[in-house]
Amino acid sequence: MEPILEVRDLHVRFATPRGEVHAVRGVGFGVGREKVGIVGESGSGKSMTGRAILRITPRGCRTSAARIALGAENLLAASERRMREIRGRRVSMILQDPRFSLNPVMRVGDQVAESYLVHHRASKREARERALDMFSQVRIREPRRVYDLYPHEVSGGMGQRIMIAMMLIPEPAILIADEPTSALDVTVRTQVLAILDDLVTRRGLGLLFISHDLNLVSTFCDRVLVMYAGRIVEECLAADLENARHPYTRGLLESMPRLDAPRERLPVLKRDPAWLE
């Protein structure tokens, strides 16, 4: 499959008073019109990979890469102005917790409309219509009522649907979802994932799904990248995850409780410094 987004040899480093932290160490992958999952434990560099692509890394952070390309365009050479056009319009990102990622003093509908206005010359009325339409696409039953609510008045699942609406309204080609469901409870999670799946398939988007939930990724995504300490240690089809070879992936799989094979005590993940080489 031809990749829309291509990343090669991506490094992210932080300068801290206690020396340099190498958060992402030479990560490379491609995303086509498919769902690619990135799994890994906290601090393995999953989120930083996503943020480095959009160039929204925190201050004091150095990013380097052999190549970050979106279609034919080299993002490494893009100016800041061009990056602003790309963010949202071409590559968008859903954040983890809608309670924090929506502005608490703006009506949610206005925030979605605002997202449309950033990239399109349109009247407020047209943006409003677009936002309402987008609300029905993320299966919000009463778009007109929800439009005027404030973030603290909507539930977590509703909030994440609004977030999806907000990030998809400029019609990006690539969507990065940074743990979009970890703040939601399990029943709502399925609904939100179904909406996400539906929109991604229908619009032919490339989805980069960042998560720490192996089960979720193996059922939801087409391909899986397993990250450990800033590297991709394993890359396989989601269906083949059970047969993963890398000891880290094996360890992760082993340490998950299973209903069909109960065990007294789950094994603790063993780490091998050699994996970093």
Binding site: R84, R87, G88, M93, P104, M106, E114, H119, P170
Partner: protein, 278 residues
């Protein structure tokens, strides 16, 4: 709208804040209707009636040239309100702009703007205002400009502190991801979030503004006689304090009650606008 309504109710439930609000509303009403409330022309002299104590004819008594003090205090409210409104209109947007830009941009811009505010903060407000008025020349408008110049650094500091908290929040990241420019983020997201604390700060610093304005008037650098400015009236009444106590007392009481009212209102607003108090 609902939030604003609840904040309003919370404000009225607080007796001190309600008192403050009532006095401020009364000040505005008196200023608007001054010509109808005042029984006499504040400038009309009547040497036959000079230095009369408070009576039914002259509620606050008369001054050394026989002007009715009550009428003068009533008309003085217009000057006070003019100063307060003008200072607020200059200072709040200026401080907000400098503070949010410094806080959001960070780095060199932040350092440069904050050192500038530090320079202004290094002088006591009244002394700095005196220096500006001395340079600009005495007068009401110049006093307002001088006071505004001494007041904005506090607002800039406050707005910057708020911005530093807001800029690291997820919804700012979310709007950056959407491709919003820095100007758009500051105007649409940062400034509205700073508004409650700026409003509270405005109300609280108005007391200081009134005192500084009265102080400048007292020192002869603000509004010029025969203008019925309270500070200037206080200053001219000062010489008569021992024998004719009413002359400095009533303008003094007016200054005190209005600055107290702004302080009470500011405190009440701070409690009412704090979302955590819900």
């Amino acid at each position: 709208m609902q939030r604003a309504w609840f904040a309003w109710l919370r404000l009225l439930r607080n007796p001190l804040a309600a008192t403050g609000l009532a006095i401020v509303v009364a000040l505005v009403a008196v200023a608007i209707f001054a010509p109808w409330i005042a029984p006499q022309d504040p400038f009309a002299q009547d040497l036959a009636q000079r230095l009369r104590p408070p009576s039914t004819a002259h509620w606050f008594g008369t001054d050394q040239v026989g002007r009715d003090l009550f009428s003068r205090v009533v008309h003085g409210s217009r000057i006070t309100l003019f100063i307060v409104a003008l200072v607020a209109v200059i200072v709040a947007p200026l401080g907000l702009a400098i503070g949010t830009i410094a806080g959001y941009a960070g780095g060199m811009v932040d350092t440069a703007l904050m050192r500038l505010t530090d320079i202004f903060l290094a002088f006591p407000g009244l002394i700095l205002a005196l220096a500006f008025v001395a340079a600009l020349g005495p007068g009401l408008v110049n006093a307002v400009i001088a006071i505004a110049l001494t007041q904005w650094p506090g607002f800039a500091r406050l707005a910057r502190a708020e911005t530093l908290v807001i800029r690291s929040s997820d919804y700012i990241a979310a709007s950056r991801i959407q491709g919003a420019s820095a100007a758009r983020i500051v105007l649409r997201h940062v400034v509205p979030m700073c508004m409650p604390s700026v409003i509270v700060r405005t109300s609280l610093s108005m007391a200081g503004v009134i005192l500084t304005a009265a102080g400048l008037g007292f020192l002869g650098l603000g509004a010029q006689p025969p203008s019925p400015e309270w500070g200037a009236m206080l200053s001219s009444g000062r010489r008569f304090l021992i024998d004719y106590w009413w002359m400095p007392t009533f303008p003094g009481l007016a200054i005190m009650s209005v600055s107290l009212a702004f302080n009470l209102l500011g405190d009440g607003l701070r409690d009412a606008l704090d979302p955590r108090s819900e």
